[in-house]
Amino acid sequence: MDLITPEVGLIFWQTIVFLVLMLILAKFAWKPILGAVRTREESINEALASAEDARKEMQNLKADNEKLLQQARAERDEILKEARQLKEKMISEAEGEAQKKADTIVAKAKESIEMEKRAAMADIKNQVATLSIEIAEKVIGKELSTEEKQHQMIDKMLNDATLN
């Protein structure tokens, strides 16, 4: 049957055509295409690798930043704590001092009040004494006009004195 008998002419043409096609395409198509694809793949791989590197670098930087931030935060906290302590100390110191001062002022005031009081008392006493003497002189002048009256007076005074 014709169907399964290969014809020499067609084998010849197929071989020639295919060989020439393969050689032409190999030189002018397959080589540049595969070359370009390979170059592109390499560049893509490189880009991916460098992106990965950049990512890692970024991560490192981020970690560093985080660390720095944490440090800064800790430092700030420390400073704040110190400041708070200082403030409290200052306040308490100031309070103490103020208290002390107030105490001394109060003490002084009390003292001076006491002194004034004493002075006033002394003055009053003096005045009372003076008045008393004056009154007494007058009274005495009147009362002690007689002997008897004088004795009575003395007795009475002596009685009073013992009572005191």
Binding site: G9, L10, W13, Q14, A26, I33, R40
Partner: protein, 376 residues
């Protein structure tokens, strides 16, 4: 058990619906087909009796090679692209256009060239002996009064092959041109081509041949893949040639694979083929025979697989269409045209599949020949 029931019921209903719609389609098609069938069957068949339809001739004519590219029409009024006939006779080379036979393939019309007379008998060209008017055969179909010159004509298949070549050159020069101009990935059609090139590289060449050697065989694998695929697809067009379904074409392609195996087979390969190590000496010659046979059978299987698959597809389509003329009823078209359409769509898949299989197995055989064996 209870929860497992639901998917079963669902899938059942699914298939039931599918069955129902399929039934409707089949009934509809059959009704369409059979109604006119009855009407035509009663028509008078005598009108067409003079010209009996021979499906074998029709199919063989369509899948076989020819010296002119026939598109449509009959006899002298047909539209046929004339192609050059190139013959090598005892008296040198003779060339003329196929149109000089005036569409005759029954060996009746004699073409005289350089004092020699030629006839075209069923697309075989015979040189008539002196005095003979037409070619004659004996019972065993041996030619009596003519000789067969070497026929290197540009036949329909060669022309179709050249069409594939032109397409491939346009496609891949385009892609190569893109790559020369810029470094970016191509877009559109070039992108499709590049994807296919990468498919051949990454799915066929690399896994079968191995990282070290595959680049050497890429030109062959790419060319053979695209050549077979594009030729297969072109072969599906109406009026096109059955190139990859021609045994001569596949023989040539298979020989390329065989040549690559023989040329590139390394020391290990030849040792394992001719003098298998690690077995008793008296078995070695027996195994050598088997191995050498296997070596030849591999490309032969490639040749036959491609040839048979493509030819079978064409024969099925032509037979389905031929049914219309065998049963002499236009109504049969209602069945055979949808079926032929279905087969044609299947052939689109087969076109790719056969190109892939041929390339894949070529790569596999080459890979086996160049593989580095671990030394025991």
């Amino acid at each position: 058990m209870q929860p497992n029931l639901e998917p079963i019921i669902l899938s059942r209903t699914g298939t039931m619906i599918a069955h129902k719609s399929l039934k409707i389609i089949v009934t509809f098609t059959l009704a369409l087909a059979l109604l006119p069938f009855n009407a035509f069957a009663k028509a008078d068949p005598q009108a067409e009796e003079s010209k009996e339809f021979n499906p074998t001739d029709m199919i063989m004519h369509h899948i076989g090679d020819s010296h002119g590219w026939h598109f449509f029409g009959e006899g002298d009024s047909s539209f046929t692209l004339p192609l050059p006939v190139i013959l090598f006779t005892d008296h040198g080379m003779v060339t003329f256009m196929s149109s000089e036979f005036h569409h005759d393939t029954e060996g009746q019309y004699v073409v005289e060239k350089d004092g020699m007379r030629f006839v075209n008998y069923h697309e075989d060209i015979y040189k008539l002996d002196a005095g003979a008017e037409s070619v004659a055969f004996d019972e065993e179909h041996n030619v009596l009064n003519a000789s067969k010159p070497w026929d290197f004509s540009i036949t329909k298949n060669v022309a179709a092959m050249l069409l594939t070549v032109i397409l491939m050159l346009i496609f891949f020069f385009g892609l190569a041109g893109h790559h020369k101009k810029n470094k970016n990935a191509p877009a559109g059609f070039n992108n499709i081509l590049e994807t296919l090139v990468l498919f051949v590289r990454d799915e066929i060449a690399r896994p079968q041949i191995g990282e070290k050697e595959y680049m050497k065989f890429m030109p062959f694998l790419l060319t053979v893949f695209f050549f077979i695929w594009i030729t297969n697809l072109l072969g599906l067009l109406p009026g096109a040639a059955n190139v990859t379904g021609n045994i001569a074409v596949t023989v040539s392609l298979g020989l390329f694979t065989l040549a690559l195996i023989l040329i590139n087979g390394n020391k290990d390969f030849w040792q394992h083929t001719l003098w298998m190590p690690g077995i008793p000496t008296f078995v070695k010659p027996i195994l050598a025979v088997v191995e050498v046979l296997g070596l030849i059978i591999k490309p032969v299987a490639l040749m036959i697989r491609l040839f048979a698959n493509i030819t079978a597809g064409h024969i099925i389509i032509l037979s389905l269409i031929g049914l219309i003329f065998i049963l002499e009823s236009a109504g049969v078209a209602g069945i055979s045209v949808p079926f032929a359409l279905f087969i044609t769509i299947l052939e689109l898949l087969v076109a790719f599949l056969q190109a892939f299989i041929f390339t894949m197995l070529s790569a596999l055989f080459i890979g086996m020949a160049v593989a580095e064996h671990e030394h025991h």
